[in-house]
């Protein structure tokens, strides 16, 4: 499969398997990263990349198989040992203590023997970063840095540990083209010095530009390792896609081009996205695709008034007040949060209470909620959405993920005046059987005239239920895929080849 170079494997995973509950995240994955090699790991969202990184860095213990660093087998679940053996990691979501200064963060990151005296920290940090061609105010708190600077700083911290193996998890999500070139130069320099680099990314142009070899993961299984010189983007995409179809999708009625635009967004900006312009018509289901961490979630939450944003949005012709969740709620914009336990539901309250929480005023008589009215309101929906439960009074946390999601979907049905549904990962943690019911419920609301946005990390799902899909990268919409082109391959191609940075420059 690969040429066994003269360099020894600094990172070697042999037959690694890992399951989380019923989900098999990795199945018998083997991978070698040699000294001096840049080895890319690519795959769709949820293909097992992060799990493999977690195991390589000692944070997760494999169920089967083993990982060796520089020939020494990593004991189960010991990040400290991984560090000692020479693993340096740049985390996708960073390891910065935001309130501490840049220098203090660097000071904590370096190994004991490389640490300067406490009093010389600032000068040392400045020199160290200058050597990496990174110029930021070292005494300023990390919180004052831009996202791009934070990302470069994260890589710098990993380099400071003088690793034998450098693990980079999506290191360019916040970087502009110049910064990507800069980062790649740094990484190549490290490789020339004999460091083995495992480079996780979904950006195929960048991967092909910087890596020596590339391993493709799909569904937790390694689909092969290749010399980058010998493969094309199309080859890799072909390996990444093609999961078996597990679930059927509801019928899509023909879209009426004259349908009223219900939700209109104009240059909306937030912490991690923007500016975004978008219009969603009545009856339309719009999908948002993209690799994780490119602003899709923040965009959706900003529309729901949960996250801060600037710019403007309107619903049904009226301006949407997104300064708090109240404005969108009153205007008929409903968010189905992806964090069901934390945000969408009250885990210990009953199914009934969770379903009716937004319409209590209507169900109340003289200020007191009449339980009988509540029950009557939800009874029909329980059957219609196929919620499986023993009683409406059982705590919602005792239901399966799919049934929990169905209960949160009851809310827009109960309200009746909903104009827009914003669904974040509507089938995450939902068993296959319940997915169809959820798709059908979303489609039913769309047929009633609701405009729906679905953010999903599953291209098959988006291709199956949406009338149109937009792809986000680095916080912006970079591509729009019309209905007649929708398909898993088309979406994945758009995600991995996302233009906007890197491409055409570093190659």
């Amino acid at each position: 499969m690969s040429t066994p170079g003269p360099a020894p494997a600094v990172l070697s995973a042999q037959g690694v398997s890992k399951a989380f509950g019923a989900v098999q995240a990795l199945r018998d994955v083997s991978l070698d990263c040699h000294a001096g090699e840049i080895h890319a790991l690519v795959g769709e969202n949820g293909s097992g990349k992060s799990t493999l990184l977690g195991i390589a860095s000692g944070f997760l213990a494999p169920d089967e198989g083993a990982v060796a660093i520089g020939g020494t087998r990593l004991r189960h679940g010991s990040p400290a040992e991984a560090r000692r053996l020479g693993v340096g990691i740049a985390y996708q979501d960073y390891s910065h203590v935001l309130d501490l200064s840049v220098a203090e963060n660097l000071f904590l990151a370096v190994p004991d023997d490389a640490r300067p005296e406490y009093g010389h920290m600032a000068g040392w940090a400045e020199e160290t970063l200058a050597a990496l061609d990174l110029h930021v105010a070292v005494t300023a708190p990390v919180a004052s840095l831009s996202l791009a600077e934070r990302q470069l700083l994260e890589v710098a911290k990993a380099l400071l540990t003088r690793p034998k193996v450098l693990l980079l998890d999506e290191p360019t999500t916040a970087l502009g083209p110049d910064a990507v070139t800069h980062l790649h130069a740094l990484v190549q320099e490290q490789a020339q010095a004999g460091v083995g680099v495992l480079y996780v990314s979904h950006r195929l142009p960048e991967v092909l530009a910087v890596a020596d070899r590339v391993t493709v993961l799909r569904d937790g299984v390694a689909r092969g390792t290749f010399e980058t010189a010998a493969v094309s983007e199309a080859d890799l995409v072909a390996l990444m896609i093609g999961r078996p179809l597990e679930v059927a999708f509801p019928e899509r009625p023909g879209q009426r081009a004259d349908a009223e635009v219900l939700l209109s967004v104009s240059s909306l900006r937030g912490e991690r996205f923007g500016p975004v312009d978008l219009a969603v018509r009545s009856g339309e289901i719009l999908g948002i695709a993209g690799a994780e961490g490119n602003g899709q979630v923040q965009f959706l939450r900003a529309l729901a008034g949960v996250e801060r944003s600037a710019g403007s949005a309107s619903c049904g012709g009226k301006a949407l007040d997104t300064r708090s969740p109240l404005g969108p709620l009153r205007a008929g914009v409903v968010l189905l949060s992806g964090d069901r336990r934390g945000e969408a539901l009250f885990p210990v309250l009953s199914v009934r209470a969770n379903a009716t929480v937004q319409v209590l005023r209507r169900l109340a008589r003289f200020g007191f909620v009449a339980r009988r009215r509540e029950r009557r309101a939800i009874d029909g929906l329980v059957g219609r959405l196929g919620v499986r439960m023993a009683s409406a009074e059982q705590p919602i946390q005792s239901l399966s993920g799919g049934n929990q999601q169905k209960v949160s979907l009851m809310r827009p049905f109960l309200r009746g005046d909903v104009k827009v549904i914003l669904a974040e990962e509507p089938t995450q943690g939902v068993d296959v059987g319940a997915r169809f019911d959820i798709y059908e419920a979303l489609r039913a609301k769309a047929d009633e005239g609701v405009a729906t946005i679905v953010k999903s990390s599953d291209p098959i799902e988006l291709a199956g239920i949406c009338d149109r899909v937009v792809v986000m990268s680095r916080g912006r919409i970079v591509e729009e895929i019309p209905r007649h082109e929708l398909g898993e391959r088309r979406i994945v191609e758009a995600i991995v080849g996302s233009r906007g940075a890197g491409e055409g420059r570093s190659r």
Binding site: P111, A310, E480
Partner: protein, 333 residues
């Protein structure tokens, strides 16, 4: 760090201001005897507040310190009796320290192993210790060895050695906190445990250390409480909330990662000063509670004012756009 000096300056100024006002009206206040009494009176709260600061620094609370101090007094009434001397007395003191150490390890275990929130874990410990103390002494009895009390309260001039020792300890603590890697690690854990762990800080050991240190400081405070009441009283340790108040007035953030041992020292001393002064003006001590409550609220507003103002400004401004800075090409349609 510059903002970090505010609590120290404020507490220092309040101590001096209250002292000067009192001295102007009541000459007895600056008498050596009263100053000596004030310093000794402050010792239990000063010591336990320094301990509480450690717990707050790693983002926790220790509600069990007051009960632990009571337990120490009760233990001492059995293990450090007037009839003892020499080695037996030393062993008795070790037994008291052992109680503190065991409590610290117990708290840390609840927090680290069972992953309980510290406020709940130490609330449990508080109840256990309170019950245990009442079981051992259902009413105040059992004198504490007077030689020990004399030794604890020894002074150079009118300044107790212990008071000097506490100052030195607090200063060294701050130097450690702001001028050493371990101190930095503690502050990092308090602010963001996940990031600290990823940076290679032994976060579990740090939290364990902080809670054991807190209990040991409470134990030291317990010795001085014993010296004050001189008898095994099961109902005297009420310093838990006061020590949190002192730590907060001294600059601790309830979110962890911020604070100063000197600040805790000064604040604890100031709170004791209020208690000490009120009787001189023939005022009921109930005013002290109310004054302390108001002070905490005022101090919190004052300490956080810069942050609140900047947050308010930020909310008024447009949000920072995602800026891959220069050289960005227009996104492909």
């Amino acid at each position: 760090m510059r903002r970090g000096w505010l609590p120290l300056v404020l507490m220092g100024a309040l101590i001096v201001a209250l002292g000067a006002y009192t001295a102007a009206h009541q000459s007895a206040f600056l008498g050596k005897e009263n100053l000596n009494a004030l310093m000794l009176e402050a010792m239990p709260l000063v010591l336990v507040s320094i301990g509480q600061m450690s717990a707050l620094l790693v983002g926790g609370f220790d509600l069990s310190v007051g009960a632990l101090m009571t337990m120490c007094v009760v233990t001492a009434s059995f293990t450090m009796t007037p009839s003892m001397s020499g080695l037996a007395l030393f062993a008795g003191a070790l037994a008291v320290v052992g109680v503190g150490l065991a409590t610290g390890v117990f708290n840390a275990t609840l927090i680290q192993v069972l992953r309980l929130p510290s406020i709940i874990a130490t609330l449990g410990t508080l109840s256990i210790l309170t019950g245990l103390a009442l079981l051992l002494r259902s009413y105040p009895s059992g004198a504490i060895n007077p030689d020990v009390i004399t030794a604890l309260t020894a002074a150079v001039g009118f300044v107790p050695y212990a008071f000097i020792g506490a100052i030195v300890l607090a200063v060294l603590g701050d130097v450690w906190l702001y001028r050493s890697r371990r101190g930095l690690a503690v502050r990092a854990v308090g602010r963001d445990e996940t990031s600290a762990r990823r940076l290679g800080v032994a976060t579990r050991r740090t939290v364990l250390f902080a809670f054991v240190a807190c209990s040991l400081m409470a134990t030291l405070g317990g010795f001085y409480l014993a010296a004050e009441v001189q008898v095994g009283s099961p109902i005297i340790g009420s310093q838990a909330l006061e020590s949190i108040a002192a730590a907060v007035l001294g600059g601790a953030s309830l979110a962890g990662g911020k604070g100063s041992y000197v600040g805790a020292f000064l604040a604890a001393f100031f709170l004791t000063e209020i208690d000490n002064v009120l009787p001189l003006f023939q005022q009921p001590t109930e005013y002290a509670d109310m004054a302390i409550g108001l002070l905490i609220l005022l101090a919190l507003v004052l300490y956080q004012a810069p942050e609140l103002i900047s947050r308010y400004r930020a909310s008024r401004q447009r949000v920072e756009p995602l800026a891959p800075a220069q050289g960005e090409e227009a996104p492909a349609a």
